[in-house]
């Protein structure tokens, strides 16, 4: 930058006025362009790896696409979308995804908030607890799913062994369409709680202590302190967690792929797994479903920002 500025300064000093205006104009042009030049590398990446794939996805969704022989691809307009909205299994997958998302988000938020309040105070025991609770998050979801798959085996699994030992009726867990989705939710919550609890602990610890001291002086009860001080002051983090988790849950795939394969009888078939299952046979249909999923997530995020951002208390 430095040598360039130096030459420009030299040009400014030149006595000829015509030349000078030209330099000024050139400088203005450069100043106008500079921000774009600066972000060009990042934008090139985004265009190549985000924009182009999205546009291509939308393009594919209008075709009965033949991956191997493009000459055999057929433009079919909105037929793929028409199929999506007339097929029962799409609504089933959508319903499962919604149920899964609500289940995971509500349970994870509630449990991690409880844990965060519980271990919010600094201390040796709390640090150890926090480490323990956080551990599931750093294990690969594949290992987690496999281990739970065995725990949940109806005849040989540990969970049913415990249930029977306690004199409770055993469950079919993943093998019955009534309990399968709940079982998958359970595993996701178990894996996610530690991470979100960590975010909330950090949030709670960032609340200025004089606020709590003042409340204590005023003889405020614990619940009152929680709802009037803690909750509003960590609302930005809660809001962030809510959005991240909703989007993440809508895209759930790995647990379903490993634990149930979408079954039994589509009981755990979620949108992304639904898209995946059409990968070899109908790329166009899978793309159209991908576009629908994108629209749903965009809509949800927009809705959250509209409705909830007013309730968020930014310091």
């Amino acid at each position: 930058m430095a040598p360039l500025e130096a030459t420009e300064r030299m040009k400014e000093a030149s006595p000829e006025s015509g030349k000078r205006t030209r330099t000024v104009r050139r400088r203005r042009l450069w100043e106008g362009l500079r921000p774009y030049v600066m972000i060009a590398p990042a934008m090139a990446g985004i265009c190549l790896f985000v924009m182009y794939p999205v546009v291509y996805l939308i393009y594919l969704s209008f075709y009965k696409y033949n991956l191997m022989n493009k000459a055999k691809s057929k433009f079919i307009g909105l037929d793929n979308y028409h199929h999506i909205f007339t097929r029962g299994d799409f609504y089933k997958a959508l319903g499962n995804t919604a149920a899964y998302t609500v289940g995971v988000v509500v349970l994870t938020m509630a449990i991690s908030l409880l844990i965060a309040v519980w271990i919010g105070k600094k201390g040796r025991l709390n640090a150890a607890l926090q480490a323990g609770i956080f551990t599931p998050h750093i294990i690969s979801i594949v290992s987690v799913s496999l281990v739970w798959l065995w725990l949940m085996d109806p005849s040989l699994g540990f969970l049913n062994y415990v249930l029977k030992a306690l004199g409770l009726p055993a469950s079919q867990w993943l093998q019955s369409s009534r309990t399968a989705l709940l079982s998958v939710i359970l595993v996701s919550v178990w894996q996610g709680v530690g991470y979100y609890a960590l975010i909330m602990v950090a949030a709670i610890r960032s609340i200025p202590t004089p606020l709590f001291e003042a409340a204590a002086l005023d003889n405020a009860g614990k619940t009152r302190i929680f709802f009037r001080i803690t909750l509003p002051l960590i609302s930005p983090q809660l809001f962030f967690v809510l959005i991240i988790m909703t989007i993440g849950s809508f895209k759930v795939f790995d647990t379903v792929k490993i634990m149930t394969g979408g079954g039994p009888n589509d009981a755990t078939n979620t949108l992304v797994y639904y898209i995946y299952s059409f990968r070899t046979t109908n790329i166009g249909y899978a793309s159209a479903t991908g576009v629908v999923l994108m629209a749903i997530i965009a809509l949800l995020t927009l809705l959250y920002f509209r409705l909830l951002s007013k309730k968020v208390y930014y310091q």
Partner: protein, 443 residues
């Protein structure tokens, strides 16, 4: 500071313990595949060194022990051919290979020869990416009649010979004869006998089944076998709809299965990993009979501790069984077609090629010459269970051949799950399935 060090140490110990536990568990189940993948790697490096050699890329889907047998075959081929180097690459399961092949074809990086699960052959042939092998066959003085007719069902597409059988199998009845003999029962030959025998084998203790009569993996293969036995066809002759719904055969087949399931005579396994689950149950004597691929005969006869025998799938109106396994095909985009054909010819004809692989692995001999060979006759004399599988081939029939089959299979699985897992009404479930099939076929 001290506090932080302590908590850090604790975290680390916790993590280490958990990670160790997980990696130990995860590793065991994948060991077979990992081996196969590793063993094919060294061959790849050899291709660069041979100056005038033509390199033929070959993708396949057999891992584990069979993968080693196939690698040995490739090594034998390379040793006997100075001018051709075949590079075999294990690409995962049949489905994974298909997905990768689709992408590779569209990217122009497809191999010269690939293994293709037989039901996917039409999908590729329809996209015109498979080479017609008829002229090559003629050049080598071979003909389609050299092959076992029952295994050629997926080879011809629009009058073109687009693939040849290689590692093929059929479903067969596996029997724990020790258990049957305890009750003085013989191996069932008809649906009726199967029902009685399976029910007689059921043991119930404390309200739970501790032994079942019959089981089968979660697959479309077995319902299709039953449909053919009841004299039905999967697709109708015009390929516009299903051929087993309107004539009531679908109802009959699934009602038969549900009746068995109700009394514990049939254990229908969960979809995930069903093949291993039923094999395990059979080995442990928790089920007396099993519909399962011929490909398991080798490993079962090595592990079971009882009198183990195989038999034809029981008949209803007739004996019938679909076929499975994979074919080999040459990709039309190959640049070394003559070299690729030489490899295919070696697989089909040479005693060191296909025949040795079949003898090693236990897949079905696919040419008449192979079946008549002395080595095969000797093996059958020693292991009659394998001969039963070959003899059943005379009843082999595949009625689910269509370009749209992979897509329709997806719908069929949905119907099977609805009926077998959730006891949904058979008639209405099959009705929905038929409607979806007609829509797909009409496209």
């Amino acid at each position: 500071m001290v506090k932080r060090t302590i908590s850090l140490a604790m975290t680390a110990t916790l993590l280490a313990g958990l990670l160790a536990a997980c990696s130990g568990n995860g590793g065991g189940s994948n060991a077979g595949n990992a081996n196969a993948e590793g063993s094919s790697a060294p061959t790849a490096s050899g291709s660069a060194s041979g100056g005038g050699k033509t390199t033929v890329q070959f993708w396949h889907s057999v891992g584990g022990k069979n993968g080693e047998y196939l690698d040995a075959l490739i090594k034998r081929f390379n040793a006997s051919h100075d001018d051709i180097q075949v590079v075999g690459t294990f690409q995962g399961s049949y489905d994974e290979t298909v997905t990768k092949l689709q992408q590779a074809v569209s990217a122009g990086t497809a191999p010269d020869v690939s293994m293709l699960e037989r039901a996917y052959v039409e999908l590729f042939a329809d996209s015109d990416v498979l080479e017609d092998l008829t002229p090559y066959l003629e050049k080598s003085k071979m003909s389609a009649d050299d092959f076992n007719a029952g295994l050629m069902g997926h080879s011809v597409f629009n009058d073109k010979l687009v693939s040849l059988p290689f590692n093929r199998s059929t479903p067969i009845l596996h029997v724990n004869k020790t258990l049957l003999s305890e009750k003085g029962l013989s191996v069932p030959k008809t649906w009726e006998e199967l029902k009685q025998t399976a029910n007689a084998m059921v043991v119930k203790t404390n309200g739970e089944y501790s032994r079942y009569g019959l089981t089968m993996p979660y697959d479309t293969w077995y319902p299709i076998a039953l449909i053919s036995q009841a004299d039905g066809k999967f697709f109708n002759d015009e390929h516009t709809s299903l051929g087993f719904i309107d004539n009531g055969i679908g109802d009959k087949v699934f009602q038969y299965l549900k009746d068995l399931q109700k009394t514990g005579a049939l254990y229908y396994p969960p979809a995930q990993d069903s093949g291993n689950i039923v094999n395990q149950m059979f080995v442990e004597g928790k089920v007396a009979m099993m519909f399962q691929s011929t490909g398991t005969i080798g490993s079962l006869s090595g592990t079971v501790g009882f009198d183990y025998t195989t038999a034809f799938l029981p008949q209803d109106k007739k004996y019938a069984s679909p076929t499975g396994g994979a074919n080999v095909a040459m990709l039309a985009g190959s640049k070394h077609k003559d070299a690729a054909w030489e490899f295919l010819r070696y697989l089909m004809e040479d005693p060191d090629g296909g025949l040795q692989f079949i003898l090693d692995s236990g897949y079905l001999p696919f040419t008449k010459k192979m079946a008549e060979s002395q080595q095969m006759q000797d093996l059958w004399a020693k292991e009659p269970n394998r001969k039963v599988a070959y003899d059943q081939l005379q009843y082999a029939i595949d009625t689910n051949k269509d370009v749209a089959w992979p897509e329709i299979m997806h719908e069929f699985f949905s119907a099977i799950e609805a009926i077998m897992y959730d006891s949904k009404d058979i008639q209405s479930t099959l009705g929905t399935f038929k409607k979806e099939t007609e829509r797909i076929l009409a496209e």
